[in-house]
Symmetry: D2
Subunit: 381 residues, 4 copies
């Protein structure tokens, strides 16, 4: 076997998330970046690729060129999959074209601008049989995997209540007017879609709830805020949640929560126990019990379920962070892809799927609709 070869779409110089994807893909030594269409400008794409030590001929002017050119290369040489790290409006087209040309896809979230696109991708994945991974990174955290496993095995009993929050403050002022690249497309419906903070971080919160509880959010009541002057898209949201089993909860997300950095946190309450996890302190899982003292789980520590034990790389007490969780998504995708390329199968792929992507887009649409109706209850479907 050899390392998997990755082609990247987006992620040119100055991109935050492109750099994250490259580092994450590199950590476990299973993937090498071999080509890219890093920017919509051919010149910037080449400059970006050069800084990444790529040969000039594999720094393409656009994704169409890349997909077609790479397809012509020999199997051992061409990219084995593409990673799409562009702004939201540029996910669908390259993902579709990659799949149609036989390339497995790793794609950033939210998956597409519209439900129709999302459903089309889901169908295409099914039809082509190609692998598709969605980079919700938080399910890559060992303690999130432990949380999911504890709920799945019934340790907490029936789930009754969920609280999730994702609080950032970086848009508390009008950063989009200062030339900040990320802010400028985040506030633009053409590039972000109908959700602002909702699409960016609300979808992470939604995904985390459903990943950990194994339950779907059935309906929601959303009160979105647009606090930044002149903003068309939401920069804040408060939601009531009802899950398919009767559990209730709240979601709160914000990009105007002044001073917050990346405060994603979740609490899940069951009949017998409960759990609490904070992204900014990711190496602890706090669990509380009817009749026992609080237990705090740690990556690599005692009494973990296999799902969590296998998700950390280094001994307990050596903190893993955001990049490692992201890397786990890539590692699990790569493991799956290598297996497929070897003609093997794996029991249960452990990374977010195209269907998770569909859920995320439907969640965005439900929240926007609810908000338009003064936070009326709205089903996700």
């Amino acid at each position: 076997m050899r390392k998997l070869r990755m082609g990247m779409i987006g992620g040119g110089q100055g991109s935050f998330i492109g750099d994250v994807h490259r580092k994450a893909a590199a950590i476990d030594g299973m993937i090498e970046l071999v080509c890219g269409a890093f920017s919509s400008s051919a010149e910037k794409s080449k400059a970006s690729g050069k800084a990444l030590f790529l040969p000039e001929e594999r720094c393409y002017a656009n994704f169409e060129e890349m997909i077609l050119a790479e397809k012509e290369l020999a199997p051992g040489e061409r990219m084995d999959f593409v990673s799409i790290v562009t702004p939201n409006h540029m996910h669908f087209a390259p993902a579709k074209m990659a799949l149609e040309n036989g390339f497995p896809v790793v794609c950033d979230k939210p998956m597409t601008l519209t439900i129709e696109e999302a459903v089309e991708l889901e169908a295409l994945v099914k039809q082509t049989g190609l692998l598709f991974g969605l980079t919700h990174n938080y399910p890559g955290n060992p303690m999130v995997k432990q949380a999911r496993a504890m709920v799945a095995k019934g340790d907490l009993g029936d789930i009754r209540k969920v609280q999730v929050q994702y609080l950032q403050g970086w848009m508390a002022t009008a950063v989009e007017k200062t030339g900040q690249k990320q802010a400028s497309w985040r506030v633009d419906p053409k590039r972000s879609g109908i959700g602002g903070a909702l699409g960016d971080i609300g979808t992470h919160a939604e995904n985390l709830v459903e990943f950990i509880t194994g339950l779907q959010i059935e309906e929601l009541a959303a009160d979105l805020g647009r606090f930044g002057e002149g903003r068309i898209l939401d920069d804040d949201g408060n939601l009531l949640l009802r899950l398919e089993n009767g559990a209730k909860g709240t979601m709160s997300f914000s990009q105007i929560a002044t001073g917050e950095e990346n405060n994603l946190a979740i609490r899940v309450y069951g009949e017998k126990g409960s759990l609490e996890w904070h992204q900014e302190d990711p190496n602890k899982l706090f669990t509380r019990w009817l009749d026992k003292p609080m237990k705090v789980f740690t990556p690599g520590g005692n009494d973990l379920y296999d799902e969590a034990a296998s998700a950390s790389r280094i001994p307990s007490g050596h903190p893993e962070g955001y990049l490692e969780a992201f890397a786990t998504v890539y590692r699990n995708f790569a493991t799956h892809l290598m297996a497929v390329m070897n003609g093997d199968s794996i029991e249960r792929p452990d990374y977010p799927s195209v269907s998770d992507g569909v859920r995320g887009v439907k969640f965005i649409y439900a929240a926007v609709e609810s908000d338009k109706n003064n936070a009326a209850w709205t089903k996700i479907n």
Copy 2:
């Protein structure tokens, strides 16, 4: 001057909150307990008083007897005020009778069962000119006072977002069927009123939001839960909030949040800064800023506003807790009452008032109405 003499209504043996009130009233050495109608059973009242080292003749069979008998005693000997620590349905009658007979009142929350009663008490307080203190204890915490002062002085800028939670787990199982005294009246609408957890702890959350922000909650959307089998009253609630200035937020409270002890916490986000306070870790106030690192304030520590600096008793680093915050409410009430008895006045009484009590009851009614209407937006008024 001498110590103030307190008569207590409720709080007999086995009562949690009666004991809290007595300890809180004792800490600062300004108040002595001189009499009580501790139970609806004359026998239990006497036994309770005896355990408190009270003379038998001042352990009364009921509050009516106490009020009338004490009134007959000489001014220097009779009780100076009454403290009412009964279940909710027994707040109104003794409070009313005490006021009508010239006794100032300290009363537990929620103040009354109905809005009508609350409004009647408010009018009576105005009419008699007697002091009335409501024991919302959390505003007694030095860091809560610092939080309020920081918002009031504009340190955070305009408030945009609030998150408040009050999570307990002690009713996660059917404790009311085990003979647990508190649980049995908390689930009984006759004694609790129309709110369960809503009245018990939701009102604390409501009060804390309004105390810290100085803003009223204008409307709310409430989704209440009744997870305990057979419960008529709510044991859980999730709410969307809109404040009078346009700020938005969430409230979540629960008594079925398994494993939680007394997890009251609040976050307030303004344009320039934000703050976070946790009741279970009460001696820190976390503040975050647009352009400065997080600052953590502590009681007795550096850079506090006077309101906070004067609210702690011991040097910084010597933790004060629940009882001390409660004691501050009593201390400030006692300071006010002593001033009045001396013919003096004080600039601004610093303890919750009868009007705060009215707000609390109106909040309960608004939340219950919203819940009946599937979490429709409902004004508090």
Copy 3:
């Protein structure tokens, strides 16, 4: 029964620790302050007593007067015990005189200026059979009691390592030159004795180690610092410890640890488990295990030993702090004294004893001697 009557020596206006003792003694409603010799100035003593609502005739000019006068009163009226809260040099004489005149004693720490005095008091207590309580308050904390119980029952296995620290910063600058009352006597060997920070807080650290582990510190190597300009007494210390069972450890204390408030913390490591407690976050006991995840105990929470369960007053999650721990020492002393006055006995008094006081003074002398010998190993005896 009636409340116990306490006479206080020291603790006049402006005293930090006198106020702490009074509040602590008041909380549980078992003790009332009836008289005092609050200051070496008769005038200040009277003014202090008046502010405490005491009758003038029981505000004495000095402790000798108080002890003799109270002795003349009828048993039901005179003070039942004395509480000594003066600077260190004024502990021995009043304690001795009180015992010799039949009054039980509560005394602040360090117990005396010299080992000889300490041993004399110990002998006197034995000879008179009177109760003597030393106000090391930290053993009053529920989580400290849980820690002691866990070690005693063998939960941690044999103890191998101890780390204790007591860090304050209030003397980082020359506060003794600013008229700060406490600082001025703390730096004065005539009033403090041969130890500075050593006597003030080092003794707390020593007591905590021995209380929790149930083991004596056999020898120590002490490197004391005098960082404040012109200070004769230590304001900082670093020590190596060897316990009687072969365990090893460190102690570090300081009053020049800039910015620290009252950071007393201890870690104890045994063969099977370990524990960690922080005075500034007193309501958690962190325990770590060979083969289980961390467990966090809380006052009033699950799985506590009786010693800890009985030491908290309010339900779990309602934080108790410094005053409550202090109050527990008074409560347990009062419970014992009431039993004795009723002709009963109690199984095991749960408050620090005169022998703990002797240990503390011997510890001070050993540390000073070690320091003089360039941190040579020195036995405590």
Copy 4:
């Protein structure tokens, strides 16, 4: 420019630290692994290399073979530097041979078994002019860099006190008898040298103190423990420290601190302020001040010095951990090496040097000597 080519010595299958080095070197995309002598068994070396997707011909039987063979390759193809990740006794020989054959070196710590070897390497580095990096990873943490910068710029004033601890529990039981590979060489003086936990983690603590304070430890008093049955080398240590400027402190390290994972923490107290950092919670730097509230710095957050600001990769609130800090050491070494290869120079290399390695070995020897003399004060030199 192209990626730097790394050859690795040690780090075969099952090695913890070899894997850490590879991941750390990969993260920033500046280094690729091209060859290795991964094991003293040629067979295991090949198997290890294969699993890393290396061509068989560049998986060497031993380091001598690797150095000689690679030297024969063309400059663009052969390794650019070697990374030595073997047990301690196998650092010196390959480092020396690499340098003598013109290869820059990255070497794990402690650098050598003896002071003589360390000094010889230091001379060889000077003589050859080749780069040499020592992988003390903790100085790679952004908050450690901030700490160092704050001290250097005088923010804390003169340093008076230091407390450092490095607590692990993985050797609390006799793991070396269970076939645990790491434990077996750690307890073996032939492979570990004269220090056990002292060499493994004590050196990290020593390095951290000197890195942050910019001060050398002048002398120490060490009380080492050998708690594991039959252990020849220390598995625990408690030390008094005196720094060159008169500051004092303690160090405590252990591998028998049951339940501890990787609890490295440091506190540094200056005349004006102090700081506290915990490796297990690496993304916060707590600072305390004479006259201001605590400030908490975070990677990517407000008010960082350049040294810290440039050391984090992702926005604030996205936690970086152990691997990222390790990667920063590699990145800074690689940046330096690329500059040198390009004929450039860099102002101040920001990674631990061969001289830091000499300090570490001298520290080990001083501590062992002190311990032999019953913790007598011993100079490091």
